[in-house]
Amino acid sequence: MTLAGLLSQVLQVALALALAPLLVGWINQCRAWLQNRSAPSMFLPYRTIRKLFMKDAVVAENASPIFRTMPYVVFGAMCCAAAIVPSLATDLPFARAADAIALVGLFALARVFISLAAMDIGTSFGSLGARREMFIGFLAEPALLMVLFTASLISGSTSLPTIVETLAHREFAIYPSLALAGVAFAMVSLAENARIPVDNPATHLELTMIHEAMVLEYSARHLALIEWASALKLFNYSCIGLAIFMPVGIAEGSTNWLAIMAAVPILVAKLMVGGFALALIETLSAKMRIFRAPEFLGTAFLLAVLAMLVNLLLGS
């Protein structure tokens, strides 16, 4: 591990922390445009987080320490994930600590913690949200892993840097296995990040909420960290998708400063396109009933398995 490698690692995490709320702001902006509304400022998420940090925290009387530690643990897990996902450069020192499977494990860790904290107070909405979150999670996690396995089979490795380098060096063509995996990945990302059609990030309508139901009892700095962690999660998922399906522009090696500097605007541009696509999907679709989610995610899972089979059969 060199000093330069460490520096680029820190740069990548710092960039993720800084850009994640902006990505949420950008998606909201696009959604407002598409829905013919006047948009709030793109920087609103930053202001919300800052405002929340300044408020006094209100914690339920019967909350256990799990409730208060959860935001920090989830935030920590998401920061680790941001360090692992190759968003700027491939050969970062921390990327060796966890491969694609461990990355999914980190997301699962965050999910389990957030669900446990939701059950901690013992309110009706908290446990309802926890149940639904774990329900969506157990369907989405296998699908996500199958997508990553498809990419791993192509590159013969589960290590994300190797996957990205292999995919970036292939001839530019549409590979059927990756196309199927891409669709599956998009569906999983929608579910995992509590977006329409599985969940609605903007609702507090009791009967439909999932993610929001779990964090109902949170306030102030705890809520700020949760919001920031959710933004980071969305950012991480976007970067995984971009790294696998659009690996162009990610710097190879951790000390190639020129390439890393060039990677920043490319990443921002790709995220803008991705965010617009997400807003488009959210505008065009309606939220599903919760028990339609298994069909939706089952389709994603089957598509991912199909991608793997296509890859094995056709070798492409």
């Binding site: 940090f53 680790c80 107070i121 329900f135």
Partner: protein
Amino acid sequence: MNAALPSFPLYAVLGAIAAWLAIGTVGLAAPRQLRFVSRVLFPLGSAIGLGLAIVAFLALGDAPSTLVLPLGLPDLPFHVRLDPLSAFFLLILGSAGAAISLFSVGYFRSSEGTAPGLICFLYHAFLAAMAAVLVADDAYLFMVAWETMALSSYFLVTTEHRIPEIRRAGFLYLLIAHVGAIGILLCFGVLQGGTGDYSFDGMRSATLHGAWPSAAFLLALFGFGAKAGLLPLHVWLPEAHPAAPSPVSALMSGVMLKTAIYGLLRVTFDLLGNPLWWWGVVALSLGLITALFGVIFAAVQTDMKRLLAYSSIENIGIIVAGIGLAVLFSAYGKGLLSAIAMIAVLYHVLNHAFFKSLLFLATGSVLHSTRERSLGKLGGLIHRMPWVAWLALVGTLASAGLPPLNGFVSEWLLLQAFLFTPSLPQSFVNMLVPLAAGALVLAAALAAYVMVKFYGVIFLGQPREPNLANAHDAGRFERVALSYLAAGCVLLGVFPTAVIELLDPVSRMLVGASAVPAGGGSWLVLAPISEDRASYSPMVVLLAIVVVVLVTVYVVHRLYHGRVRRAPPWDCGFPLQTSRMQDTAEGFGQPIRQVFEPFFRMERELPSPFDTAPRYSVRIADRFWHALYLPVAKAADALARLVGFIQQGRISVYLTYSFVTLLALLAFVR
């Protein structure tokens, strides 16, 4: 073949067996002296367990050593042998057994059922029998020890023998244990290959022809599968585990199920050698079906120990699937991959021993302090029992397969083994593997669901019953035992490279290949093939999360403030909140029940809208019970009735039978 001299560790293991039996006998001599039994004998047993673990740990890398004991029948002495495989399982027995014995010090208090001294005898005989199974080197000693194990655990399961359901559960357990024992006996019969030599050495050198090796493998899978809880012989687990006292459940789930895995490994890789590829496919599919079945049923349970029992079925399924994969690779001569699969199997065996013992013991503490096993009557115990709750959290996260704890490492290794299957020559197997990997991942993801339910309903939320306010935390010994197991879960998770080096001799013995990279590799990063292909460093992940958490706490408090106000829960402004508005165990399992409806046999009682005293109840039963067991039981009954008419109960009739038999024999033998 191996005429190695008996070594010190072998004598030490035999000494431990003898010492356990001696402790048991002393307990038998003082049946009602609870204080003496619990304060002296159980700690002694625990110390012997620890000693056994240390000896086994030191003997892991040694060459096999054998000994012929001057016991047994004339001309049929007992053979014992200590090799890396048995040393590894002895390590599990010793290290988990030590904690469970220590926990038992504070656990066995009231004596409504079996007397404490008798429990002490049965308990230590159980431990000694398991150790004897692991060192047995001939079919005779193996079966004697195996049956002793089954019987002593049967009596332990039926400790509360005044309750009819518990007697029934014990009977079911004994029945299936014996059905399995028949399979094992037949398997040894096939293995000796007509030589009449029932020592394991003889079986190793016997050559089997044609379909006989496959027959032996299938019999072993059936026989050991019955003990391990493979489908469809799993039905005893969810009955026997809740019936048994918690330390016994922990011992059965954490250690005894592993002796069945030991037997399967011993027969498949050591006694049979050269496995065939389709055995791997059979074990893989059976294991995965078991894993999925177990975890789906675990998600809908409402009794905390039944839930854990089903979760054990799931873990056994994962282990057997891993064995299948190791067989598959080994049959195709892929040494490195089969070593990875084998290491994953052994690692998971070790992990499961730790986290499942921890969870069962934690339910023991909960049961002790609340007298309640049903999830629907628990809740909020983290406030009343902080020690148990926090230590159980470690076990829960480990069992859910989350990094950086131990459950994740073995699943990670197993998935790595899956991912490199496409190098196999058979395309049909290649096609099967993605589906298998998908099933494994689905089971692992569902395990997280189950564990959130388990932990959330018991320890979090509001207490569902008023008497939970009197719950007390675990005692001193229980705390030490739980902390020891929790520390084991963390250490096994954080230092995977050290554990893999420990397991290496076993994998070299079984599949003849090593998964430790030449030159040792880095101690920090686990990379079974090369760092370019896959790497995982739980230590770094753990440190990173801890550092980020600490820095965030510091920065947030420094930059802003740390003020906290306590207030009643908000819950969208709903004012009337009672503990009955939380999810019940049934409620939490409802999505699983809906999605996997065809799996269950449900009996539901739904109230009509005009009912003035509405009642809702749902009972979930196992389809196997109705489709397989009840018909078999009915057939056995019918057969017994048919045979019954020849039993007239009059001595003259029986004498006539004897006479006719004699005549017939005279006619035949003439």
